[in-house]
């Protein structure tokens, strides 16, 4: 468990954090450039001296008004955004640096790490003679071999190709599980986040704006970020949880909605995010289709948004739902304002917040 309650100021930038992280898996940190992700990690690592407040990790106080445990006693592993390999040591000696100082903590073995990071071919090369991605892999390896009790990773995969990432990410999860090392992971890549992180922290302007399960936050982020992707948010109540299938039934303006999420409680108020592109329209109420969500709505607006596509506004009772369809379908179905239509969308494409 990582408890943070501190305040940090630098020039015109302020970081203010008051959160407790369970940290039993991988916690992702996302946010726009300059929002303070790196600074947050540095404060946790003890690399910023002028932090005001308390930091404690699994019952050990790392910092309060009296105590300041220096970074080298915190037992962390830090993958820096800018690598920071020791230029006077070759790859092997860089990797060994942390290993030698790991105070016999339990961690992955040298052989396994260099093997799955594919470092073996250049183990004896100078670190100044590596490509960007190779450097980054060495930096990851170096941090892991220090057998940290907490792993702080600042965009560790940014310079890697997707194949490397795909092969490294499961290993990071393994490290996390096998050695019980919680990971705090900064990245800009939503796919990476989706695969790797359990909890997600969204930062903005020196503050933690939002926390939550990764999938949920991610889809929202995607919606709001990919500005050409319209979406709707529906207010709903949990009606029934359907254990065997892991599906939950919600009520939206008196209509039934299925989501494939099993951690909701009956009676709870939730919000459901529906990407417009996932919604298709049907003029009849058909049952014999695998699509589970078929909501009766009224078409209240329609407009062409580009050469090929049209955006349709559907009204339930009070709430609105957006659907993105082709202009061809618009004409084929002769859609008109005021028509009753059924909105279809798969349970799997919804996010509940």
């Amino acid at each position: 468990m990582l408890s943070l309650d501190f305040h940090y100021e630098r020039d015109d930038f302020q970081l203010q954090v008051r959160e407790t992280f369970a940290l039993d898996g991988v916690t992702g940190v996302m946010g726009p450039s300059g929002c303070g992700k790196t600074t947050l990690l540095r404060c946790i690592a003890g690399l910023e001296k002028s932090v005001q407040g308390t930091v404690s990790f699994s019952n050990a106080c790392w910092q309060d008004s009296k105590i300041f445990v220096p970074p080298y006693k915190r037992g962390i592993g830090y993958v820096f955004q800018d690598g920071r390999l020791f230029p006077h040591r070759n790859v092997r000696d860089n990797l060994n640096y942390g290993l030698r100082r790991s105070r016999k903590r339990h961690g992955p073995s040298f052989e396994s790490v260099v093997e799955w990071l594919e470092i073996v071919p250049f183990l004896d090369r100078s670190v100044t003679e590596l490509s960007g991605g190779q450097r980054q892999r060495v930096a990851i390896g170096r941090a892991l071999l220090g057998a940290p009790r907490l792993l702080l990773m600042d965009e560790p995969l940014a310079a890697l190709d997707w194949a490397s990432r795909v092969s490294i990410m499961p290993r990071l999860r393994d490290i996390n599980r096998q050695f019980g090392v919680p990971v705090l992971f900064v990245s800009h890549d939503r796919e990476e986040m989706a695969r790797l992180s359990d909890e997600l922290v969204l930062m903005e302007n020196g503050c933690i704006e939002e926390r939550g399960r990764s999938r949920q936050l991610l889809n929202r982020a995607q919606g709001s970020l990919a500005d050409d992707h319209a979406l709707s948010v529906l207010e709903a109540q949990v009606v029934r949880t359907d254990r065997p299938y892991g599906i939950t039934e919600l009520d939206v303006d008196g209509r039934r909605l299925m989501v494939d999420q099993s951690n909701l409680k009956e009676g709870q108020s939730v919000r459901v995010v529906v990407p417009a592109a996932e919604v298709s329209l049907c003029l009849e109420d058909i049952e014999r289709i695998s699509v589970q969500n078929r909501l009766k709505t009224t078409l209240t607006d329609i407009r062409d948004i580009d050469e090929h596509h049209a955006l349709v506004v559907l009204t339930l009772e009070e709430q609105k739902l957006l659907a993105l369809i082709t202009r061809r379908s618009r004409h084929r179905l002769a859609l008109k304002v005021g028509m009753p239509v059924y909105a279809h969308f798969k349970a799997a494409c919804l996010e509940v917040v």
Binding site: L47, P71, Y72, G75, D82, F86, H88, R89
Partner: protein, 222 residues
């Protein structure tokens, strides 16, 4: 060369060697402290370290002589501690040489420390290296070349310096008579044959030593 000359060579090498070691031992932490200082007091300290430079060596030697006198505090303290006078002793020579050559060691080292990538220190810290460990595993290897340069300058300067040594030493064969003074004397007394031999020998020795060091340096760092 005479036996006395060889003795002078040996004293010279001992003096230069010991002085260099002390220069490093004192200069290193001093440079480190100075490089880390942020107070406005720092330029003053920096200037103080550089000060012995502007005094002519014999004049500096004279003032050191005054200071080393048992009538004055530093000399007195030394005499109380060791029972000997600081002047006319090998220890005194070493001390004087250290004071005189200090700026040549402290300043390059200080610059090197300042230019050190703090990021690497943070990285080492995150990997569990404490301050002393960091100093030996990151700072020193990173500043190896400036250190070598500083040591070379310090060594050469001590070998060649004679003003201070002349003043403090008392020219006692086997203890404080160094090559530079013998060479100086030879020139003063127009004994040019000896002077040429000694000068040539000194320069040859220095040349070989420096070439060896610089080659080593190049091998060590690609």
């Amino acid at each position: 060369m005479t036996g006395e000359a060889w003795q002078a060579v040996s004293v010279t090498l001992q003096l230069a060697g010991l002085t260099t070691l002390l220069l490093i031992a004192i200069g290193l932490p001093m440079a480190w402290k100075l490089a880390g200082m942020t107070s406005g007091f720092r330029p003053v300290l920096e200037a103080l370290v550089g000060l012995p430079l502007v005094l002519p060596p014999t004049v500096l030697g004279f003032y050191l002589l005054v200071a080393f006198s048992p009538n004055n505090l530093p000399g007195q303290v030394w005499q109380d501690l060791t029972g000997t006078t600081l002047a006319f002793s090998f220890s005194g020579l070493v001390l004087a040489s250290v004071i005189y050559s200090l700026p040549f060691v402290v300043q390059p080292l200080q610059r090197a420390f300042e230019q050190l990538d703090r990021g690497l220190l943070e990285a080492a810290s995150s990997l569990g290296a404490g301050p002393i460990d960091r100093f030996f595993s990151v700072v020193l290897p990173q500043t190896f070349r400036p250190l070598l340069l500083a040591a070379c300058l310090g060594f050469a300067h001590t070998v060649g310096e004679f003003g201070v040594v002349l003043m403090i030493g008392g020219n006692i064969p086997g203890e404080t008579q160094v090559l530079s003074i013998a060479l100086y004397d030879a020139v003063e007394t127009q004994d040019f044959a000896s002077a040429h031999t000694m000068a040539a020998g000194l320069m040859l020795f220095a040349l070989v030593l420096l070439i060896a060091l610089y080659s080593l340096d190049r091998k060590g760092h690609r």
